[in-house]
Each structure stands twice: as structure tokens, then as C-alpha cells.
Amino acid sequence: MQALFDYYRYNMEYFLIKLGEHMSIFALSWAMAIVVGLLIAIASTRPGRMKIGNALLTITGFSQAVPSIAVIALVFIFTGIGFRPAVLALFIYSLVPIVFNAASGLVSVSPGMKEAARGMGMTNGQILRKVELPASVPAILSGIRSAATINIGTTTIAAAIGAGGLGEIIFTGIRNFNFTIILAGAIPTAITAILVDVVLSVVEKRVTSKGLQLAEHWRE
């Protein structure tokens, strides 16, 4: 315990830098993945393009079984080491759950509902904004949330390609078989991951229509 405090006391600056790196890799890649992922999911599920949407679902469905480290490794092969390759790798890796969940949400909006909307005189844009997206919010958010969890976990591994972040501390600890350093990296990593997830679960609750939450309960 004492050793742990000492570690932070003597390495505060280093620790804060690593924490900063960690959060910026995570936040940058995650934010990019949300924007790009949603655009891809929306574009591939427009009327008449459902085939593309379904194909994308199959592809992303299978890609979810690829371990994150494999993606990091492949990105390394093409772009080398450092912060940017890490962000790129994490961006690609977080795209998968976001696109998968958003597209499956959008694809499964009931045709009856969309037809009712069209029959009432909504334009395609209005159907997207007022019906498809709100009805897919739970799926979209769960994709975004699971991308965050995966992403923040994978960020630690990205230290292996010289991206820095809290993973670097754990790696140092493991390499030197130094328990204090391992814990000094592992504990804050776990805490940030849990915190991010808790915050997102709160956001999820607030953003999801009460009608959909109730519908979820009904099914239980």
C-alpha cells in the first residue's frame, strides 16, 4: 500500500501524462468511430439499400470475433508505432460494434411503423429523424457503450505499439516483475474503465425514450 502511494508521489507528473495520453487516445478514436460509424450505418440502411445494410451486418458480425490485438498488430504493420497508429487501430476496432448495433437497430425498425410514417406524409428525412433514429436509440447507445468499454480496455494494450497511456505502466511493471508498478497502472485503468461505463449507463437511461424503456421491461 505504502509503496503504491510512494510510486504516485514520486511519479505524479509521469502518471498524469500517461493518464492524459490514455484518455486522449480513447476519446479521439471513440468520437471518430461514433461519427463515422453512425454515418455508415445510416447510409447503408436507406430505403432500397437494405441489402447493403444486411451485408454490412454479416461482415461486422463476424469482425466482432477478431481480437483487438490483431487489429492493433495489423495497423502497426501498415503504419508503424506511436500515438496516431494507436488511434487509427482503436478507431477501426470501435467502428465494428457501433456500426453493427446501429445498423441492426435501424434494420429492425418495423416496416409497419415506417409505412405508417410514410402514409402520414413524412419525407424520408423526417422518417429517419422522427422514427428510425429514435426507435433505434437503445441499439445505437448499446453499440456506443460497448465500443467505449472495448476501446478503453484496448487502449492499455496499445502501449505495445508505443502509444503510451496507462498500459505503458502495466507493461513496465510486468517486464520488471514489479508488483507496485503493475498495480499503479492496473488500478487506475480499471477505475477509469468502470467510471466511463457508469457515466454512459446514466446517459443511456436519460437519452432513451421512456416508452422504449418500458417496452424493454415488458419483455422481461
Binding site: M113, G119, G121, G211
Partner: protein, 375 residues
Amino acid sequence: MAIELKKLRKVYGESTVAVDDVDLTFEDKKISILIGPSGCGKTTTLKMINRLIERTSGDIIIDGRSIDEIGVIELRRSIGYVIQEIGLFPHMTVFDNIAVVPRLLKWPEDKIKKRVMELLDLMNLDPDEHPYKYPVQLSGGQKQRVGVARGLAADPEILLMDEPFGAIDPINREKLQDAFIEIQEQINKTIVFVTHDIREAIKLGDNIAIFNEGKLVQYDETMTVINEPADDFVENLLGSDRGLRSMELVRVHDHYDTDFFALELTEKLTVGDALKEIEKTDRRYAYVLNEKKRLAGYVVRKKIEKANKSDPLKKHVKETESIHPSSSLLEAMSLMMTSGLSAVPVVDDRGRVRGVVRFSALMEMFGSVDLTGSD
């Protein structure tokens, strides 16, 4: 607004003729039913009206204008559209669901609120409780009422309904149908209603259009369809006990006679005065209304001819049974049987006499119905 279909035709792909040169006119302010076996083109016909499906050829004229002259979005916003309950938006409250079209039309929010409350009232949904519920919290019947309310929200002249009560259990379906008849009495819309339930068709329809394999087989007033089926197909559709069954389903509402004679009762009115009035008409009896124009009873001419002419008429008024416009003709018939009357007055909610149902007219309508029945 009447809707005219002119040589309306829809071909899917190369050769599936879903709707085959249909000519017919849905009359203004009437409920017109589209019925026929699965796949006969009912839904296709309906959806061509709001252009959810584009027709292959022919034309659809609303209020003298081809629907092509109206922008498709504008057209749809001006026509109510109700489908089975799947069409409600689960992420919106009942209020927001109903308010969809008014909001698309950019109505001011206070007008929307007023309209939604009005509709909830019309649909018999509690305006204190229901607007803030979500679709999952409603029963099937309530959802369907919300669906109808949503279709009516922007007060369209035309309402298209595709098997709106199809997913509801039989008992609640009956209730919804009864409610729907009363609602139509108040709102008087031009309604095109798809169903595959012949009971529903007879009960709700002013006119019935029968389709088979994309072709219009018969289009007539409901009673005409029952009495003069165009061919074996229609006859089969109606079923064997159609006489009795349709009597049970057809409402008094469309079939009473407004030609009757009534006297207004005052304290001073004597038998002599009354007789003078009746003799002008050669009727055998007269209804008697009280000061508030409510039905008080009736007097029989032969009976009062024998009475003292200076008697107040009041002494000779006999009470009578009456029937509500939304009762079925079968109820009217049994009332005649049990009371021995040859005619029953039709009295509405407000106590006004709207007309009479006569036994002779029923006999004419149903011809050879065997009233001893099969059960």
C-alpha cells in the same frame, strides 16, 4: 370528398396483376368496404390512393383532381391512414403519436393540444391519464383507438383504414366497431375500409366492394349486396345464414323511415283536435310528443274515434317501446315480435324521434329470412 378510381390497374413485376382495371367511386361521407380473399388486391388498391404504391395505369380522382396534381407529401398529410397496431411509434407518448401530422403541418402547439384532447374524448380515452402513456402501456383496443385518433388528427376529409381491427380479439373488436359507428356519425368522413371479415363489412359498410383476383366483382350498397349477390362467389363470401346474420349486423341507423306522423301534446289538446289532425293524413296511428318534443307514446285512430271527443288526449296516450339508431335490425325485429307492434319508433340519445322501422320494410329487405332460425 368522393374518390373515383378510373380503370385503376397495378401490375407487380412482369405479370402479377394485383388490381385489374377497377372502376368505382367511394362516395362522400360514406364508409366503403373493400373485401375479398387474401391477395385479391385490397391493400394495393388502398395504398394507391395515398400513393404508398404507384399505380401502373388508370387514374384516381379526389374532389375532381387527379391525385398526381397534388404533391405526394401534401396528399398524404391530407388523408388519414390507419393500419394495424404496429404503426404506433413506441418511443412517443400517446399525445405525441396523435400529434404527428399536426406537427408536420406546423400547427401552433395550443391548437394541437386542443385537438388531441378533443380526439381522446371522441375515442373515449381518459384525457387526464392517457395522453402521457406510451403504447406499451395500452391494451390492444386502446392502441387501436389511438391509431384511429392519429389518423383523424389533422381533420382529413378522407380516412384510409387497412384491417384496423384485425389484430384485436372478437369481443373487443365488436366494441371498437360499435364505437367506430358512433364516431363516424359525428365526423362524417369519407372512409375506405379494408377487411376480410364479412361481419365487419356488413356491420360498418354503407357500401361494399367485393374483389377477387384483382377484379371488382360487385360494388353496391350493403343491403343490395346481401339481397342480390352478383354471383356465386359473393354468395359464398356472405355465407349460408346470411339473412339472419346480416339482420343482426345491419344497424337501424341507415334503414329507418323518416315518414311518420306525430302530434304535439299540450294540456288543452282534446281527442277531437287530435282526430282532426290525423284525419288529414289517413294514418292509422300517430306518435305523440310532449312539450320538450320527446316521445310520450302513441294513439290509435280507431280507438280514439270511439272515445269522448272532449276528453284530453293525454288520457288515451299509450306508452310504446322505442329503439336506438345504433341497434341492429334484428333487435328491432324481436321488439316487434314481443310487443306486437308493426312499427317501432327510432329515438336517439337526446330523446328525439328520428323515424320508424316498419315490419313490412324489414320483410321487404330480407325477403325470405327464416326467423325461427337455425339455433
